[in-house]
């Protein structure tokens, strides 16, 4: 019952820092990093593509830890952390899956290929959308948090198995020849641009995550207050 209504001051500070980092990211990605020799300007989408993938991984890992913590402690706080991380993670994963084909079309000549990394990213996205759907469908159930936490663990454990099996599947078939992509040695300015973008996305993740987490807590509080009000009205009417 002690949820503060306003967002804390540090959060607004963080929004400012994130804004600066995102602007720096744009400058790095679009101007300061050198143009890639073979792919040209379109390669600059790489900085956002990779950063969003990494951020999504971080988010899903946070979701996994929070699910485990919820199963262990049964404190609603951890459930709020889990759902916030999953939701923001799906957003970043969507950015990753949308920027991928935009980059792939001019460079590989196709929008999509069922290669190991693409397919496993898509399956990972599907798993976490399932997680969110489960929460939505089970919203009126008293134990939805338990189920969601159990599924969160099932989903996270699946990601490496999916990756392994798809790699095996792909090496059994003649795969499409993938040209381009990031080579082993990249220009230090590209390296810097990538990491500035990643840092900006991580900050953005924290901002969105905390906002969503607060919202979840307030929803829980509202539900409790409504239940109390309902009980009170019943007592008065007797």
């Amino acid at each position: 019952m002690s949820v503060e209504r306003a967002l804390p001051r540090w959060w607004f500070g963080l929004v400012g820092v994130t804004g600066v980092a995102l602007v720096l990211g744009v400058l790095h990605a679009l101007w300061w990093a050198p143009t890639e020799r073979t792919m040209g300007t379109v390669q600059r989408i790489f900085y956002y593509h990779v950063s969003s993938a990494w951020t999504a991984f971080v988010a899903f890992f946070v979701n996994f830890l929070a699910c485990a913590a919820y199963l262990k402690t049964r404190r609603p706080k951890w459930d709020a952390v889990a759902v916030s991380a999953a939701e923001v993670g799906v957003v970043f994963s969507t950015v990753n899956l949308v920027t991928g084909p935009i980059w792939a079309k001019p460079v590989w000549g196709i929008w999509w290929t069922w290669d190991a990394r693409l397919t496993s990213t898509l399956v990972m996205w599907l798993l976490y959308v399932s997680y969110l759907l489960l929460r939505q469908f089970a919203a009126e159930q008293p134990s939805q948090r338990l189920w969601a936490a159990a599924f969160g663990i099932f989903a996270f454990v699946d990601v490496p198995i999916v990756y392994l099996s798809i790699r095996l599947w792909r090496t059994q078939h003649p795969g499409p020849v993938i040209a381009g992509g990031e080579q082993s040695g990249i220009d230090p300015r590209m390296f810097l641009a990538l990491h500035v973008c990643f840092l900006a996305f991580l900050l953005l993740f924290v901002v969105l995550f905390y906002w969503r987490y607060r919202l979840e807590q307030q929803r829980t509080e509202l539900a409790e207050l409504r239940a109390r009000l309902h009980r009170w009205q019943l007592e008065r009417s007797v």
């Binding site: 399932s130 159990a150 663990i153 699946d158 198995i161 099996s165």
Partner: protein, 224 residues
Amino acid sequence: MSYWAVSRRIMAKDLVSEARTREMTNAMLFFALLVLVLFSFSFQPTSDEERRLAAGVLWIAFLFAGLSVLDRSFWRERVNDCLDALRLAPASASALFLGKCAANVLFLLLAEGILVPLFLVFFDLSFRGDVGQWLLVLVLGTWALVVNGTFFAAMTVNLRSRELMLPLLLLPISVPALIAVVEATATALLGEGAMGVWIRVLIAFDVIYTTLALLLFETVLEGT
């Protein structure tokens, strides 16, 4: 009663109740058969590439059969509050889970035993590869679907949209197992390549998810 005796008793109860009512078996078999027939309108596997596709068709039929088995698994316990009685029984929840899984595996294997010969007849196919290994794939793949499916069926039994929710949870989780069974079946039909790697994937998948489900089932059951 010992742990295994509880599991056996649960399994026997499900088998007897299904044998007497047949509320699920008939519909499940007919549904899976329809899938095979409808697919046979759309293509006749003559080339190797189409034989590869046929393996996918077979597993789609199994998947439909499996979903109708799993959907009924805990649903039938709602009558007379049987689920509450099971929950209150002085027995381990994981023993209940294993018993349910065993019954579901048997139902699904029964369906597969009927569907496979029909599949071979309708699509004019034969196994050119090692049938013994393929039977192992069949059992491991069925277990992979059932172990997660039974777990999610217990979770979704009280949801209004349970019939929609079960496949939404089960299918993405089962992606590695589905890749393995379809590839292994294609290998068995074509008679080229090795199934060993897929059998290893299936064993790993089964061991990991059986362990997880046994550990978490009690938690999930207390909430249904």
